[in-house]
């Protein structure tokens, strides 16, 4: 908003944006967790008091260039809010049939595995320390990382009644074909 209204021509034509201002302002407040949220309280001084303030020229106009890095601050706030929400939904007190203790441990670990997704993967064979990461291995790891059920590899996968009731999600479970018969 600040960038577009710093242009004199766009500023003159700003009335065309009026119909979007209300929903944009609502989305902005929602993004920070609502008006009662502590995150909104921390950064509301960066924004106008109401949707009308977005276009009335008091805050954003060619004569009042907006230099504050609002986007950066807003995105940081969103990150903080999402992280806090993630920590809340994966806290020990939330352990239930749909969130196992193992899920909590995995979610709370200071993992660096996420870096893998930002790097090109080597498909070379294992040699001199080069890691063997085949497509199937990669898929298996991603499923673990995302907390998804493993791929059906054994062939005896079946829907288990207990698991369906407990997890409220339908996915096939496999039984280990070795002696210990674990799932």
């Amino acid at each position: 908003m600040s960038c577009s209204l710093s242009d004199p021509l766009l500023f003159i034509l700003r009335s065309g944006l009026a119909r979007f201002a209300g929903s944009a302002y609502d989305a902005l407040v929602r993004m920070h967790g609502g008006e009662t949220s502590k995150f909104w309280a921390l950064c509301k001084h960066l924004y106008p008091d109401s949707a009308r303030g977005l276009l009335d020229g008091t805050r954003y106009s060619p004569s009042t260039p907006h230099t504050a890095k609002t986007n950066k601050i807003a995105l940081k706030m969103v990150t903080k809010r999402k992280l806090e929400h993630f920590h809340h939904i994966t806290s020990v007190s939330q352990i239930s049939p749909t969130l196992t203790a193992a899920d909590v441990v995995v979610a709370s670990s200071r993992s660096f595995s996420g870096r893998i997704f930002s790097e090109p993967l080597s498909t070379k064979k294992r040699k001199n320390g080069v890691v063997e990461f085949t497509p199937a291995t990669y898929i298996a790891f991603c499923r673990y990382f995302l907390g998804l059920p493993p791929e059906t590899t054994i062939g005896n996968a079946k829907l288990t009644r207990t698991l369906i009731i407990l997890c409220r999600a339908v996915f096939p479970t496999m039984g280990c074909v070795y002696v210990h018969s674990l799932t």
């Binding site: 920590h87 806290s91 020990v92 196992t100 203790a101 193992a102 899920d103 909590v104 441990v105 995995v106 709370s108 670990s109 200071r110 993992s111 660096f112 595995s113 996420g114 870096r115 893998i116 790097e119 993967l121 080597s122 294992r126 001199n128 320390g129 080069v130 890691v131 063997e132 990461f133 199937a136 291995t137 990669y138 898929i139 298996a140 790891f141 499923r143 673990y144 990382f145 907390g147 998804l148 059920p149 493993p150 791929e151 590899t153 054994i154 496999m174 039984g175 280990c176 074909v177 070795y178 210990h180 674990l182 799932t183």
Partner: protein, 295 residues
């Protein structure tokens, strides 16, 4: 779903557990070589201790698993070694040898016992700095570890909340998983026998420097234990020394850039090895066990 079955003793995935371990060790060895170190994967304990103990005796003197009887025997052997090196000892050379041999023979020999062996030995040929490293990967969400982990998570959360409330630094922010710390302590205790012997060799003058032992413990989630960070930074330091010594390069890359690249490559290598190993374990867990080809 959380990989507990794959990380348990399922025979189909047990080979992949070794594969994960080997890949992780290879990453460290490859980077140590890049840092200009002499890196030996799985060195013989005989060579590691400069041939002080016969190869056949190493298994008896340094078994992988320790019994109470063995611990008592090793303590007696250590005391005997201290005694013959002290000024109070008036034994002749042959008597000293037979005295030590006598204590060696008293150590209990367990049939089928495996000898202790570090995963990798790194040596800087210029400074003669030596580091022995043993690699280990922990599956922190295993049922046997879960209660300890949950307690630690709850404690960390409480501490973080209190720190936020009182605007104070979070003291437990960087605390590692308790299981990983326990594994580190266990490894250090296990290999302390080798370090003790090396220290004695240094005192006797048969060794020029005392090796450092460091366990490299990583979790399946990609978390590094404190000593693993030490190993990582030690390797980076060695690489920095190598770059500084080489001086200006023809390609124009500065030492800072190269070190940054090396550290990133090491970190990524470790994460990739753990992830690839875990992925392979998940892939093969539960399959009918009939061999998966050569390692």
């Amino acid at each position: 779903m959380s990989g507990n079955h794959a990380a348990s003793k399922c025979p189909s995935s047990s080979r992949c557990v070794f594969l994960r371990h080997t890949m992780l060790r290879n990453v460290l060895v490859a980077h140590a070589k890049e840092a200009g170190l002499e890196a030996v994967p799985e060195p013989d304990t005989y060579d590691l201790l400069l041939g002080q103990f016969e190869a056949k005796d190493c298994k008896r003197v340094f078994p992988k698993r320790m019994s109470v009887a063995y611990e008592a025997g090793f303590k007696a052997l250590s005391q005997a070694s201290d005694f013959i090196n002290s000024a109070a000892c008036t034994f002749s050379s042959e008597e000293k040898q037979s005295y030590i041999q006598n204590h060696l023979d008293k150590l209990p020999l367990v049939e089928g016992a495996v000898g202790l062996r570090v995963d990798a030995s790194f040596r800087n040929p210029e400074t003669d700095e030596i580091m022995w490293v043993d690699v280990s990967v922990v599956h922190t969400s295993s049922p046997s570890y879960i209660s300890g982990e949950l307690k630690s998570i709850a404690k960390r959360k409480l501490c973080a909340d209190a720190a936020q409330l009182h605007l104070m630094p979070d003291a437990l922010q960087n605390e590692a998983s308790p299981v990983m710390l326990q594994r580190e302590i266990a490894k250090i205790h296990k290999y302390s026998r080798l370090v003790t012997v090396a220290k004695k060799q240094k005192a006797d003058g048969t060794r020029t420097s005392i090796p450092t032992f460091a366990p490299f413990v990583v979790s399946d989630c990609g978390e590094l234990a404190p000593k693993a960070y030490d190993v990582q930074e030690w390797l980076v330091k060695q690489y920095r020394l190598k770059c500084s010594k080489e001086g200006r390069r023809a390609d124009g890359c500065t030492t800072v850039e190269l070190v940054r690249q090396f550290r990133h490559s090491l970190k990524m290598g470790v994460q990739m090895a753990v992830a690839a190993g875990l992925g392979t374990m998940m892939q093969f867990a539960g399959l009918a066990w009939r061999g998966l080809g050569p390692a």
